[in-house]
């Protein structure tokens, strides 16, 4: 008996919809095995991971805080990946968006009293992320450089740049030598949604609005059609008169801007200031979110909450079950692995082939010439 993959004549709509769910179930099963091997009760650990964070209002707010940047970034990445541009550097664009957006409250603290401060910061953040994404885009369009490498390496440049800023020129003199910039005040702080119930800020609204707008762009407009054509078949894209270079810049700038917006929203909302580390790897986790959401902005909204749950669940499990917070990364990695593996089902069907067939041929074989 052996397994065989048989290509489907058309891709399966059923499995397009089902594969993320199958992947999630497989991840949970693999997680249970993982916990059992660690000597923990799988039931209690999975409860801590996936159910406990949903049981009180406070942690639902935290879920929204974590989901917002994941969704914002992943929606932009979906546009990149659909057009066959592999932007792996959203983490760096997130950081640069935060840095550029924070220029206003840090360099001109007086302006924080103006109601225009926040909109200007958000626009600057988006521009900062877009400008940083323009570097790998330019290198790819002009020199045919591999964007996976350049965008990834620029992440480390951005992180070290931020680190230098908050330890050097932008360090808050009042922070007693802690490496952090001054806290944002006044209109530079992202407003909270329901201040009485929890910390969630309007960042989650940005994420939802971006998801809907990008969904419309991709599903309903010529620009979205262009993106998909170039991603699926560059030669046909040229036949259609679409510019491959245009798509490189469009997708990188859009995803950079959304990552930058997520970055400035995070520092002006959840964190409140610049510090050496401003992201628990949102830019990388968003890659998983993008694929778990099947590169569909609406699917990404759901996937963003799932990934946010793994972050929160990791904290709960660390406290209540006593597993390392590294388990979060393992979970996220497993999820991405299963998502990509389950996508095979969309284009192939699995068949069981009895093994006697193989043996039948061999006795007939004639010796080599």
């Amino acid at each position: 008996m052996r397994l065989e993959l048989a290509k489907r004549p058309q891709h399966s709509k059923l499995f397009s919809a089902l594969s993320p769910f199958i992947a999630f179930v497989l991840t949970v099963i693999a997680g249970a095995i993982l916990f059992a091997l660690l000597g923990k009760s799988p039931g209690a650990a999975l409860y801590a991971y996936f159910i406990a964070p949903l049981t009180d209002l406070w942690s639902l707010h935290e879920l929204a805080i974590k989901a917002a940047p994941l969704i914002l970034i992943a929606v932009g990445l979906a546009v990149c990946y659909l057009s066959n541009n592999w932007n792996i550097g959203a983490e760096g664009q997130f950081v640069m968006g935060a840095v550029v957006g924070a220029m206003l409250p840090i360099l001109y603290p007086g302006l924080q009293q103006s109601p225009l401060a926040l909109p200007v910061m958000l626009v600057m953040g988006a521009l900062g992320g877009a400008a940083y994404a323009a570097i790998p885009a330019f290198l790819k369009a002009r020199f045919n450089t591999n964007e996976i490498l350049t965008s990834l390496m620029l992440v480390y440049v951005a992180q070290l740049f931020l680190d230098w800023l908050v330890r050097g020129p932008w360090r808050d003199p009042a922070a007693m030598n802690f490496p952090q910039a001054p806290r944002f005040t006044g209109y530079a702080v992202l407003p909270e949604l329901l201040p009485s119930a929890g910390r969630a800020n309007i960042g989650i609204l940005f994420a939802l609005i971006a998801a809907v707008l990008v969904w419309i762009l991709l599903a309903r407009t010529r620009k979205g059609f262009e993106i998909r054509v170039i991603g699926m078949s560059p030669r046909a894209g040229r036949f259609a008169g679409f510019s491959t270079r245009g798509a490189i810049f469009f997708s990188f700038l859009l995803s950079g801007a959304l990552a930058g917006l997520a970055g400035i929203s995070e520092v002006s909302g959840a964190i409140g200031r610049l510090q050496p580390s401003i992201s628990p790897g949102y830019g990388f986790a968003a890659i998983i979110v993008a694929f778990l959401g099947r590169l569909n902005p609406l699917g990404i909204v759901a996937a963003g909450f799932v990934l946010a749950l793994t972050y929160l669940g990791g904290e709960v499990a660390q406290i209540e079950v006593g597993v390392s917070d590294k388990v979060v990364r393992a979970f996220q990695g497993l999820l991405l692995f299963f998502v990509l593996a389950c996508d095979t089902l969309i284009h192939y069907r699995i068949r069981f082939v009895p093994s006697e067939r193989l043996a039948a041929v061999l006795p007939e074989a004639k010796s080599d010439a």
Binding site: R8, P9, Q10, H11, R220, T221, R222, K223, F225, R228, V229, M232, S233, R235, A236, R238, F239, A240, G241, V353, R357, L358, A360, V361, E364, A365, K366, S367, D368, A369
Partner: protein
Amino acid sequence: MGTELAGEPATGPGLLLDVRGLTKVFGSLIACNSVDLQIAKGEIHALLGENGAGKSTLVKMLFGTLAPNAGEIVWNGKQVRIGSPGEARRLGIGMVFQHFSLFEALTAAENIALSLDSTTPISAIAAKAKELSHSYGLPLDPGSLVGDLSVGERQRIEIIRCLLQEPDLIILDEPTSVLTPQEADKLFETLERLRGEGKSILYISHRLEEVQRICDRATVLRHGKVVAHCNPRQETAGSLARMMVGGDVHEVHREHPDHVEGAPLIEIRNLSQAPKGPFSMPLRDISLTVRAGEVVGIAGVAGNGQGEFFDAVSGEAVQADPATVRIRNIDAGTLGITGRRLLGAGFVPEERLGHGAVPGMKLSDNMLLARHTSDAKAFLGGGALGFIRRDAIEATTKRVVEEMDVRKSAEDPEASALSGGNLQKFIIGRELDRKPSVLIVNQPTWGVDAGAAARIRQALIDLTRTGSAVIVISQDLDELFEISDRIAVMAHGEMSPTIPIQEATREKIGLLMGGADTGAH
């Protein structure tokens, strides 16, 4: 039909391959429905059929790349199962594919060595290849780079690679579709010599005249079923075509207009272009004017610059001087493909999947692919936002599908789900529906069945009757003689002056196609 007697399958010890009831099912489609096929030792056996008739599926099962759902294969009197091409080769079945699988940057000998399971040194392979190539009249220098070779020479590598394994049965898939008439003649001599040595050949072709010329028996497939076994020499081209198509093949109807000088609709002046890569052809000083109401055919062996010419004229590759390409008296050389479409030109590239259509997209999306700007008024709304109007696009798609008789399995299937012929009808219909003033078509009927091909050719001629100009690039001389008013030949990136159809002969065209290559080797 009275052919059953003549085509009575051979039996007894002379039988090399006996296929009984072979069936292959893909989802709801029965690609091969209980196919019987008998091949005797030392015969050239034709496998005839329209596109989608199941020829490729049958051959893939014989060569071990597809597993049958039912039926048996008896080889030399023993029942066998062929699980992989390696097993097929060990049994003694060799195959020469229509699309070559050669590395252009390697030499002929290195390419041959790659496909052999043995660890023989390359020098020994080269010597053996050279010896074989001479004994079969297929001159080949094993040390030459594949990238420098003509398509005919590349095919020789494939044939020699196949012969080196000393097969008893050689399967040839559409072998002459890429050859000049002279090269094809040479191939036929080789095939006859192989038959003389007792080897069997399964010859897949849609060129009835060739099948009648060299094949001893023929098996005709239609819709996955065997409709006849016959002796092609006792048939006429017409009767063979009827078996294939299942009805009378519509003959292309055209009358030669008496030298009405139409207005020039497309003019190409001194078009030159450097090669775009190590294996691409340069274009050398090409000039061509096509007038309203005429079809100009461009003949030539594949890879002599036709693809580059198509890209340059379509605007996928733009020119520096705007006057190089003029469409309807407007300089278009610096315009891209969208700009040229807006001037009234339409284009049908050679590759259907991945160039003329996106394989994984629905037909309606592929409709938008070529017409998003020329039909922006109907297909898009919302001004600069460019919202897609699905209903308008789907209506146009439906119209084209009906007009061109595109057969499909679903309401709006993905392009890759259509057979080659049906997708080609759709792609040509997509352009015709726009009523273009100028239509440039590369290989309009490549791999398309006889019925669809006739329909496509008729549609091209009908378009010129409405005052349009048509350029047809094709390697099929029969096709060009059938529909062209004038014929030009491309060889080594140069284009000959056009020859009026009344003065054109196959010999004349064939010699031009050979270019400077004739007499070499």
